[in-house]
Amino acid sequence: MELKVNITSPLKGRLEAVLFSSDEPLRLERLQSIFEVDLPQLKDALQELLIDYAQPGRGVVLQEIAGGFQIRTRSEYAPWIVKLNRNRTTRLSKAATETLAIIAYRQPVTRAELEYLRGVDSGGIVRTLMDRQLVKIVGKKDVPGRPLLYGTSRHFLEFFGLKDLSELPNLHEFADPDEVSLPLEMDFDGDGSS
């Protein structure tokens, strides 16, 4: 492909208009099918747009989120937007964030496993997280009782602005796994004796 030095690339404008009007991240394939262009061409235009939106002093940024692209406000401007519409934010409670973190890192995970890890009943919180569409059912575990398995949703990625799950913050590994001999596989769901 030739160097796209074209400043006023119409594709870039089209991209901006479409990205601007979407309330969800748009995947490359989706953009391609809308504009009917080659992937390299699309990527070039996207690259130009990414640079424009990375300019200092801008209030918005073009980000890769949940496998797609989305224009979002920059987090430092949050106070002003909150002022614009006061009623929009609902915080996750500490317990909800904790549960969500375990689900995110351990997925797929059963409720029994969650509760073993947290040490407390978590049914209500799981329901809340599902109501907020941060968590979804991903299957049933192949053990007696066939308990439901939970995982994070695509909205979870959007919620925290992650490209994918690999962008989750790293967890500290145990200091020295040899120091304690631990049962690596624990029986959570079988006889319920844990």
């Binding site: 949050a78 500490k94 904790e98 959007e158 919620f159 602005g161 500290h172 145990f174 001999s181």
Partner: protein, 257 residues
């Protein structure tokens, strides 16, 4: 020592959180927890909760029992090798494992908490309401199975009005009923009344058929015969009906309906 601090009750997410707090408060090595010390402090915490007339969540009590169990096992003389195959396993091992894991996830949650969150630090274009029912749009987005359960649960919470049932399911008029009975009676010497119905009749169907039969009796197109009290009811069609000369009754439609 245990009395030297007050614990705020709502600070802890659960027994593991409390234990972790006690471990770091006493600057213990998490791999070498003093069971007697931590158990005493843990129980003291539960007492404080109870002193304030608050219920101690059962999870905290379960953990108290676990702690005391571990403590007692630590005090036991070393078990006979044949009695405990894994006699080298520290009684605290599982607890330590749980605490380590819990700490890891707690840290993970704290980091996650600091991430910019949608509609808290970061905003996107306002969602345009776009729920389409008419099938015009091609794709359907991620709807979890959970949404299905939720929808059904909500429906079942409010049992529907039975009246709607009847309204929806009334396909028959009395004229239809008469026609149906006449058809049943054709070529019949007599007919058990219940054979005018299908195996599992709807209530409205029963009523309409019953009215239809009364109407036919009034028009002298059939007779009702019961051989004994509580016995089977039979319909005896007139000749005109039996031979099929009469297959419908005019004027009924306008009279009923």
């Amino acid at each position: 020592m245990a009395l030297s601090y007050e614990v705020k009750l709502d600070t802890f997410e659960g027994p593991l959180d409390l234990l972790l707090h006690l471990v770091s408060k006493n600057e213990m090595d998490i791999y070498d927890i003093s069971m007697s010390c931590i158990t005493a402090q843990y129980l003291r915490y539960l007492e404080q909760v109870q002193e304030q007339n608050l219920d101690v969540a059962s999870e905290f009590l379960v953990m108290a029992a676990t702690l005391m169990h571990i403590k007692s096992r630590m005090l036991l003389p070393k078990a006979e090798p044949e009695e405990f195959e894994n006699e080298e396993i520290d009684p605290r091992a599982e607890l330590v494992q749980r605490l380590l894991e819990y700490r890891r996830y707690k840290e993970g949650a704290q980091q996650l908490e600091e991430y910019p969150q949608l509609n808290r630090e970061v905003f996107v274009r306002p969602e345009t309401v776009n729920t389409v029912d008419d099938g015009a749009s091609s794709a359907v987005s991620e709807v979890g199975v959970y949404e299905l359960v939720k929808a059904l649960r909500e429906l079942l919470k409010e049992p529907p009005e039975p009246i709607i049932h009847a309204v929806v399911k009334t396909p028959l008029s009395v004229a239809d009923g008469i026609q149906h009975v006449l058809q049943c009676l054709r070529q019949q010497q007599y007919l058990p009344f219940r054979e005018c119905f299908c195996a599992m009749p709807q209530r409205d169907e029963i009523i309409i058929t019953f009215i239809a039969v009364l109407e036919l009796v009034k028009l002298q197109l059939c007779k009702i015969v019961q051989l004994n009290q509580h016995g089977m009811i039979y319909l005896y069609p007139s000749d005109a009906v039996r031979s099929g000369r009469v297959t419908s009754v005019d004027g009924i439609k306008s009279e009923y309906h």
